[in-house]
Symmetry: C2
Subunit: 286 residues, 2 copies
């Protein structure tokens, strides 16, 4: 059994996925033309072979896993070489509408398109992210599961996998945003210690989510502003929750701004997690 995969492009996630695939016997091609020496070294360490776009287009599966802020040039260059028999899988965190627009461009060449998303951190000895695929050709992505990836299909159109990714991020980062807003308000009103006690007793799962997620958010807050606005667009209108996510975008903008300045709010949040300065005093019945 052999499988040739073209991978765009060898960023952190792309290289880790390629390393997993080559370790399981797959051939992984990528274009190193014009890439930095560091990128080339990373690609070779992951077992990838350099190949021109024409050869990439002939691979069994084309996987697009671009770094978050990447331009779309690698995709544009490849489109000219696609044709019937090509299988193009976009694994980037885009909106359902953007995926559908990309599908139209890819299928215009005669190639098949699959909507893919990756949930979790890059593959490593400790963990393996899950790949979800949707669209009429989703089953054609399954051979990746024979080469070390955790792959699952969703019985839905192009856009369903994209929606899953947005929803998962919306829950995880929304809960972190709620914690950020409310814990700051509690601290400002002198109720932080009592709130921590109550959360610990009644909603310990949420206190844990805040402890893990809020401090880790500070350096990412700036990036999350646009991500929250994308989720607001995805939800569509106010009654469906769009205003909630516009609110998170502004909150994260505020936190990012705070971090560039004195960091007073980040310090206030850290103080919440550091524990009792003046703990609630408990009396009476237990």
């Amino acid at each position: 059994m052999s499988l040739t995969i073209a991978l765009l492009s060898p960023g952190a996630m792309g290289s880790a996925v390629a390393a997993r695939l080559t370790a399981h016997g797959a051939t992984v091609l990528t274009s190193l033309e014009g890439r930095s020496e560091a990128s080339c070294a990373r690609a070779r360490a992951a077992g990838m072979d350099d190949a021109p776009d024409k050869r990439l287009a002939e691979a069994d599966i084309i996987l697009s896993i671009l770094p978050p802020a990447a331009a779309s040039e690698p995709v544009d260059a490849l489109l000219d070489h696609l044709g019937e028999g090509s299988l193009y899988i976009d694994c980037n965190a885009l909106s359902p509408e953007t995926k559908q627009a990309l599908e139209a461009r890819v299928t215009a060449t005669g190639a098949a398109f699959v909507d893919g998303v990756i949930i979790g951190s890059p593959p490593s000895d400790q963990q393996n992210p899950v790949f979800y695929f949707s669209g009429a050709h989703a089953q054609r992505a399954l051979p990746l599961g024979d080469f070390g990836l955790d792959v699952r299909t969703i019985d839905g159109p192009v856009g369903a996998a994209a929606a899953l990714k947005m929803c998962f991020a919306g829950i995880n980062k929304g809960v972190i945003g709620l914690g950020t807003a409310i814990l700051l308000a509690a601290q400002r009103h002198g109720a932080g210690d009592a709130l921590r006690t109550e959360l610990d007793e009644r909603l310990p799962h949420l206190l844990g989510h805040f402890e893990r997620g809020v401090p880790g958010m500070y350096p990412k807050a700036y990036r999350w502003i646009a991500e929250m606005r994308e989720i607001a667009d995805f939800l569509g209108d106010e009654e469906a929750g769009a205003m909630i996510y516009e609110g998170f975008a502004r909150l994260y903008g505020y936190i990012a701004h705070d971090g560039e300045g004195a960091g007073e709010d980040q310090a206030m949040l850290d103080a919440f997690f550091a524990g009792p300065q003046s703990p609630a005093k408990k009396h009476g019945a237990d």
Copy 2:
């Protein structure tokens, strides 16, 4: 050791608290003047004694625990009789600013004021809510702990206990709102089953919170609209999260409206929790 408590008024929470106090040997007075026969029966079953306002004002502790939509008449009538030595504890879920305004009215009579809140369900064989008290006179509420209540003080001014209650509700009901918005979006995009699988594997604590909280919210959604707006007011400005809670108010308004009509969205949420209609198919590495 004896303690006489005046309780305004014998609603569901007030009566349950009174029953707990009288079972532990406290004397609990309330005014039954003009109350319905059902209220009078409930008050007597809880061991409360009927008393005129003048006698209520002479109790060791005056506890205001009004039903959510209650008018403030019981309080207004009592204010005329308060004086130095009276201890007035407001245990209602009001904003810090409203508590401070009430404090001003009470202390103008010479009486002492304590900010109190109750977190949890009414006392029963199974559970006991926690009473938090803040303000300069908070320590004077502690004798309630000798009569079966779980009482704690917060080392903060009048308003700190009120803030705690708002923050706790903001987290609990905010997380339910996030679930409502996102689970509906996932269902509409055909990604509901895959999202449930991912939440179950990666964020099971949040899936559990949604399962417990979302279906129970439907009949309360109408009431939560105003509560979300109060939390938005409490947070103050957009960057502090006020817009997030205005968004929740609109979302809950939408859910309440849906429940008055065909209930299509509630049915869609129920379908999410009911489990796989077309579950994600899993392949490859585990």
